[in-house]
């Protein structure tokens, strides 16, 4: 209750500071005051414009994120478990992971055009390396003692892998997914600014060209809310479904 109060207080103070800065310190055209931003937002909500952009951006993030996680978990498990695969691929991964999704935009546009595929690819790219590295680390750090204990109880290789190693790695994988999700929401924006005709990033770009700072702020605010809400939802789902795998981190 107290935390909720402080949270609300923090937001209210932020809006007050914003209002003050835009009207007293700076030019209201450069920093549109919150009231103006909300006034701009209402018709955009009423005619559904903002939701169209949000839905498109969300769909791109979802496709890229889900495929990226799936591929990264499969490969990451192999990297963590099979030494030869790790020796062969680790150097390449260590180099490629410095190519952020933004750095890949120009080539993605040439490869896939400005359609949906290029955005899927860019989100996939960003998600893949983050989840991959976390999954590999999690699998590698599954305690040897735990695996040996299972082995001498009679567990087969496959049972040790499925019932001991994977659950031991779960907290690492989930943490990687959470970071990757935040990064997806960040990298979808430049992708849409540079190569799209829809989505939140496109809304930003279009408003900038037309010098509509109020609409830019609506888009920025939307990004904040979208990222925050999706992260909270992710945490709730994890708490519901995986809490027994997550809660023991403090123990070991």
């Amino acid at each position: 209750m107290r935390a909720a109060g402080l949270f609300a207080g923090s937001i209210i103070v932020a809006f007050a500071v914003w209002q003050f800065l835009s009207t007293v310190v700076f030019n209201p055209f450069l920093i549109p005051p919150p009231l103006l931003v909300f006034k701009t937002m209402v018709p955009m909500i009423e005619n559904g414009e903002i939701f169209r952009h949000v839905a498109i951006s969300l769909a791109r993030v979802a496709v890229g994120f889900i495929t990226g996680c799936a591929a990264a978990i499969v490969l990451g498990v192999m990297l963590g478990r099979i030494k030869l695969v790790n020796d062969l691929l680790d150097p390449v991964i260590e180099l490629l992971r410095y190519l952020s999704p933004t750095a890949m935009i120009p080539i993605a546009v040439i490869w896939f055009g400005i359609g949906e595929t290029s955005k899927y690819f860019l989100i996939f790219w960003g998600t893949f390396f983050i989840v991959l590295i976390n999954t590999t680390a999690g699998v590698m750090r599954a305690p040897v003692i735990r695996q040996r204990a299972a082995e001498c109880l009679g567990a087969s290789e496959l049972q040790i892998f499925l019932l001991v190693v994977i659950p031991s790695a779960a907290p690492y994988i989930v943490t990687g997914m959470r970071i990757a999700m935040a990064s997806s929401f960040m990298s979808i924006i430049p992708a849409e600014i540079l190569a799209a005709d829809s989505g939140i990033g496109f809304l930003l770009q279009q408003s900038s060209v037309l010098l509509q700072t109020n609409r830019i702020f609506v888009a920025l605010l939307t990004i904040c809310v979208l990222g925050f809400v999706s992260d909270r939802l992710f945490r709730i789902v994890v708490d519901r479904m995986l809490s027994r795998y997550m809660s023991y981190i403090s123990l070991t």
Partner: protein, 252 residues
């Protein structure tokens, strides 16, 4: 005591690394352990006790010499020789409750499901964790976690318990209680126990025979001391005290 030979270790040498980095851990270990016997391996830290235990368990292979279990060479770990670790938090599956940890052992042992409830009930009662069957390892005390590890081991009906300083991380009072508890389990089930420790008092309290290992490199069993005293033992008792002093002198 006086049963048939269960584990026979002959001229076991074990070295790690290669060429210049080669480290000779064990140099000619000979040891015969009879069915139902309680043997302590006692020696200073780093003398290769755990290395020897890992070889007995089948986690590691001897560089030279042979280890036979029931007359056949040991090839890998198996549920007839269950290893018991000091770090119970790592050895247990922290995402499973006490009951589920035992169930895991029954599952990998391929016991028919109809028998599970009876066995789970039996072993948890034996270690006094019946009322805590739904708790997770993180909710159990250190001593309770060790008892859960014993329950899980008993569920797969091993012939030998290999214990690697199992009570080393417990406080002195809990350790004493665990000694009484372990002896009771041993007397009731007739298991063979190989118990690694660097604590002289612990060895004199528990063992039928104390095998003293020399400090490495090239550790050997330098002395075997039979402890033919009735249990429970009181270290203040003159005959126990004499053995304690004798062992102390050997290790000095």
């Amino acid at each position: 005591m006086g049963g048939s030979v269960l584990l026979a270790v002959r001229n076991v040498r074990k070295s790690f690394g290669e060429n210049a980095d080669r480290y000779l851990a064990l140099d000619g270990i000979n040891l015969e352990i009879s069915e139902g016997e309680f043997v302590c391996l006692l020696g200073p830290s780093g003398c290769g006790k755990s290395t020897l235990l890992n070889i007995l368990a089948g986690f590691d292979r001897a560089s030279e010499g042979s280890v036979d279990f029931e007359g056949a060479p040991v090839r890998g770990a198996g549920r007839d020789r269950v290893m018991f670790f000091q770090d119970a938090g790592a050895a247990l599956l922290p995402w499973l409750s006490a009951e589920e940890n035992v169930r895991f052992a029954l599952r990998v042992r391929k016991v028919s499901k109809a028998e599970w409830p009876t066995i789970i009930d039996k072993v948890l009662t034996m270690v006094g964790l019946k009322e805590h069957s739904r708790k997770f390892p993180s909710q159990l005390s250190g001593g309770m976690r060790q008892r859960l590890q014993i329950a899980r081991a008993l569920a797969v009906e091993p012939k030998v318990l290999l214990m690697d300083e199992p009570f080393g991380a417990l406080d002195a009072l809990t350790r004493r209680r665990m000694h009484g508890f372990l002896l009771e389990i041993w007397q009731r089930t007739g298991k063979t126990i190989v118990f690694v420790t660097h604590d002289i008092a612990e060895a004199v309290t528990l063992a039928d025979r104390i095998c003293i290992m020399s400090l490495g490199p090239g550790s050997r069993i330098t002395e075997v001391i039979p402890v033919a005293l009735p249990r429970p033992r009181d270290l203040a008792d003159p005959s126990a005290a004499r053995i304690f002093k004798h062992v102390e002198k050997l290790l000095a």
